[in-house]
Structures are given as C-alpha cells and as structure tokens.
C-alpha cells in the first residue's frame, strides 16, 4: 500500500501539557486507519493536527513532520484553508448547519466557486449518494437539516464533507452518538468509501476498529504504543498493554 501521510517524530503541546510524544508511523493510502486508546490520550488531538483544527486553541505548539504530498502539514507556511479542502473532517456529534439539506451539502463548494445551479444539483446528488442518504433525502432537500434523525444528520455531515472532493477523511468517533443501526450503516459506508479515500477514524469501539480498519494505532498517554496491521494487533499484540486494552481489561 502506498503511503498517504508520513508521521515523523511529531510532538504537540497544549501550553505546558505534552499531549503527543514522538509519534512516528505511516498512514496508508485508500484504507482505514483506526486510532484507539483510552480517553484523553491524544487521538483527537492527533486527528485535529492533521487538518490544523488545533490552531483555534490558543497556546498550542507542534514540532516534527506530518508529510502530506511532500509538504509538512505542521509548518506555518501551509495554507490551512487549502489544506482543509483536501483533508475533510467529520465530528463526533453530528453538526449540520441549521440550513436546508441542500444548502448543507453545497456549503463548501459554493464558497469555492461552484456557482451554476446544474453543477450544484449534480454535486448534491453525487455526494448524497456516496453517503447513502440520497434515497431518504431526495424528496426533502429543502427541509431543514435539523429535522433529520441523528444517523441521517451524521451521513449528511459526511456528504457535506465529500462534496469538497477531499483526499483524506478524518473521523472523530463518528458513530459514538448513534444507535447500532445507524452505526452499521455508517460502517458499511466507510468500507465503501475507502476505495477512493484515505480514512483515519478515532473510535472507542474495539469491534468497530477490528471490523473496518486495515491499520490500527494504539494511543496511550500521548504516545503510540503500538502501530500495525489491525488483524495482527487484535490477534497477537506485541505489547501486553495493548492486549489488555483491546480485551477490555482497562480503559
């Protein structure tokens, strides 16, 4: 598998708090990489470093290299707006805009120069289809997104993200606020999406990581304790801590 993002000796601080410590691993292209580990161990911090969403928190600092398309994401001369067009993000809690379903999907593209109604219509259909929401939403495109169910809202957020035609998808516990049926739906969706996208997913659900991901990174207290093939990690983890976490004995 070709490598999409090289993570090389990445460190991150919130003020004095050393949140990420010397991370080094490679994220493979067109596959799902699961980030697992107890709460507060830096998974989301790492995810948000990938599209520089941590920039909004004052007093943060990062060193090391996050190489994406020959450029270091962490360096200050990267245009973060451009970066986020290529590296999309889906959040833990569905956060559709309080606008219509249609407006939600075209929010990004419209602001990047797609103006013709026909193009936008096509884009809406394509994105909603990709997110398996088209059949449910095609008749209520003008209804407010807030009237959708939680699972539909999350798929809308995925569609909104896909409409930007990104390269990498960052998912921060996308199913933790959803019921098992919606979770199943989104997992199937992710498995289909990895044909075209590189996906990083933070999850607290071990089965989910085992079911859908190719690679797994086990985070503990800001360090990556173990990184490797998901099958390998779940069947015979090299590190006893990893094994104990996966089998549910702590965390």
């Amino acid at each position: 598998m070709a490598v999409k993002v090289n993570v090389e000796h990445v460190d991150f601080w919130y003020g004095d708090l050393h949140a990420l410590k010397d991370l080094t691993f490679d994220v493979p292209e067109k596959s799902i990489t699961a980030l697992i580990g107890p709460s507060g161990c830096g998974k989301t911090t790492f995810l948000k470093l990938m599209n520089r969403m941590n920039d909004f928190i004052p007093g943060t600092r990062a060193t090391g290299k996050l190489i994406y398309h020959d450029r270091n994401i962490i360096s200050y001369d990267v245009d973060v707006v451009e970066l986020r067009m290529k590296i999309g993000m889906v959040f833990q809690k569905p956060n559709p805009f309080p606008k219509s379903v249609y407006e939600n999907v075209i929010y990004g593209p419209k602001r990047h120069g797609v103006k013709r109604k026909a193009d936008l219509d096509l884009l809406v259909e394509k994105s909603l289809r990709q997110a398996s929401l088209w059949d449910e939403a095609k008749d209520i495109l003008n209804r407010s997104a807030m009237t959708l169910s939680g699972g539909q809202q999350q798929r809308l957020c995925i569609a909104r993200c896909l409409a930007m035609e990104p390269d990498v998808l960052l998912m921060d516990e996308p199913t933790s606020a959803l019921d098992p049926t919606s979770t199943q739906f989104i997992e199937d969706l992710l498995v289909r999406l990895k044909e075209d996208y590189t996906i990083l997913i933070v999850t607290h659900n071990m089965q989910q990581a085992a079911r859908i991901s190719e690679k797994t990174a086990f985070f503990l207290l800001g360090e990556v304790i173990e990184f490797g093939d998901t099958r390998e990690i779940f069947l015979n983890a090299k590190n006893p801590t990893t094994e104990r976490y996966i089998s549910g004995r702590f965390g």
Binding site: P58, V81, R84, F97, K99, M146
Partner: protein, 319 residues
C-alpha cells in the same frame, strides 16, 4: 424520602391519614414527614409567591394607570389633524407633524450609522481580536463603561465634537451622530452576546470544509446570531427614540414650524416637543402633550414589534 423525615414512617395503608405520634413525639403525616415543618414550608412558599406576584403587579398596574391617564387626557385631541399639523402657539391648532418627521429622520440616520458600526465592532472583538490581550481587554472594559455613561454627557460630547468641532451645526446629522454614540455600546455588547451564542461545533464544521474566516462569518456566524443582534439593535434604537436630554444640548429646537428636508436641517423630536408642550402655562397644552405621548408610545411599540417579527423571521430561517 426526605431528609426532614423524623422517625420511622407509619406503615403504608395502615392507619388513618393525619397526625400520628412518633417516637420523637413530633406529629407526622402519612408520608412520615413532620407536620409542623411541612406546614411551615407551605406557608413560606405562599409568602414568597405573594411577594413576587406583588412585585410583578406593581409594574403592570403602574403602567396601566399611566396609560389610562394619558389616553383619557388625549381623547378629543388625538386626531388626523393633530398628526398632520405643524406646531402652533394655539393649542387647538397645534400638531405633531414636524416632531414626528424629525424623530423619524433622526432615528433612521442613527440606525444607519450605529447598527453597521456596532456589528462590525462586535465582530472584530469576538472573531478577530486575540482574546485576553491587553488591548482587547481595554476596549472591552471601556465599551462596558460607556454603556453606563449618562446620556447628557454624550450630549456634551456631541456638542463639542459634531456641532462645533466638525461644524455640522444644530442639524439632524449632529443629533443622529450623538445618539449613535449613545447607543453604540449597547448594540456592541448585545451583538457580542449574540455572537458568543453561536455554537463552536458549527464554526468548526465550517472551517473544516476549508472555508475562510470571513466566509464562515457570513455563512454561519451572522445568520445564526442575527436574531439576537437585531433584537439588541432595535431595542437600542427605541431607547434613542425616547431620548431628549442629549438632543437638547446638541441643539434640537423646541419649536419647528417646517419639515426637515435634509440631514443638515434643524429639527425637533417627539420627546422634546412633548416636553415643550408640558411646560406651557395653558391648561389645554397638557392635552396636546398627552396626545403627543400616545404617538410616541405607539411609535415605540411599533419598532419593538418589528424587532420581534424580524427575530422570528430569522429564527424560522435557521430552524
């Protein structure tokens, strides 16, 4: 069940409701709570309810009395002729047209100046300035303090800066600029509150789509906070509509027998016209003043209604 329960409760369904002796000797009701404490709690509740109700009624009754008095006094004086006539030294001929026109001119101009500047300032403070820096804190404290400065002080400022300094004279423009200064702090503070209420998750969603700050502001932040911003702005405008003191200082006239045609004309406004009438010796002018007050109140209620309608309209759009 309750930390006030004393002793063991009587068996459920066993024995009559009402007082029963306990091992501590205090009478207990059927739930095992002390009858005396229960009684006291109920009385206290009733007393506080009464106090709160009286306070509410005080304001409402006073307002009703005032309105009743004014409306009664204006009967027979408030008619179409009153609305369409210029002021006169004869009470029967006196009308409110020039004051009404002056008020609308002044308020329109004030709104046009104060609302954009106020929203722009709030946006800068909330979205662009770095929070916690000495400069932004200084600005913030000053804006809050300015909201508490008496209006007459703004009148003095307006006189020095706009009437004399900038040479606008005793014009509508000077008055509107002065009123703008007066209400800017209120508009800024309420707009800031509205901007703060925009959920971080929505802003994050927008930024994560590779959208710039300004696009996020126009796409998510402003639409979401508009109801709050507009409500604050219109309530501030209503306040400006009722102001007389600062305008007297910046030279609004008491008697204007023509209609203003441009922002540089001299003018009067409703509160000053009313004040002028009430200080006349003739008894009849008191009725004229009452009619003027009714006009002013109707105008205020209209703007407040507009505020509510606008808020609902934007809220519906966002839901």
């Amino acid at each position: 069940m309750s930390r006030l329960a004393i002793g063991t409760p009587p068996e459920a369904g066993n024995g009559p409701a009402g007082e029963q002796p306990t091992r501590y000797g205090a009478p207990q009701n059927r739930f095992g709570n002390s009858v005396r404490l229960n009684q006291r709690r109920k009385t206290k509740n009733r007393i506080y309810q009464g106090i709160l109700l009286t306070s509410t009624l005080f304001a409402i009754v006073m307002l009703a009395l005032l309105l009743f008095q004014i409306v009664r006094s204006s009967i027979g004086w408030l008619d179409w002729k009153f609305l369409t006539s210029l002021p006169s030294r004869f009470p029967e001929k006196a009308g409110i047209l020039s004051a009404l026109a002056g008020s609308l001119w002044t308020i329109g101009l004030t709104a046009g100046i104060a609302i954009p500047i106020g929203i722009a300032t709030a946006l800068y403070l909330e979205e662009y300035s770095k929070e916690g820096t000495r400069l932004s804190r200084l600005i913030q404290i000053n804006i809050s303090n300015l909201a508490g400065v008496p209006s007459i002080v703004y009148g003095m400022l307006g006189l020095a800066v706009f009437v004399r300094g900038a040479g606008f004279g005793r014009s509508i423009l000077s008055g509107a600029l002065t009123l703008s200064l007066l209400i800017l702090p209120v508009i800024i503070v309420t707009a800031q509150e509205a901007l703060k209420s925009v959920p971080l998750s929505l802003k994050e969603a927008s930024y994560a789509l590779g959208v710039s700050k300004w696009q996020t502001i126009t796409g998510v932040v402003l639409p979401f906070s508009m109801p709050g911003i507009l409500t604050g702005a219109i309530l501030a405008i209503s306040r400006a509509m009722g102001e007389a003191a600062p305008l007297i200082i910046v030279g609004a006239a008491g008697y204007v027998a023509f209609l203003p045609k441009s922002p540089m004309d001299s003018y009067t406004v409703l509160p000053i016209q009313i004040f002028n009438w009430t200080s006349r010796p003739q008894e009849a002018f008191q009725h004229v003043a009452s009619a003027g007050i009714v006009v002013l109140i109707v105008l205020l209620l209209t703007t407040n209604t507009i505020a509510i309608l606008l808020r609902n309209k934007y809220q519906n759009r966002m839901d």
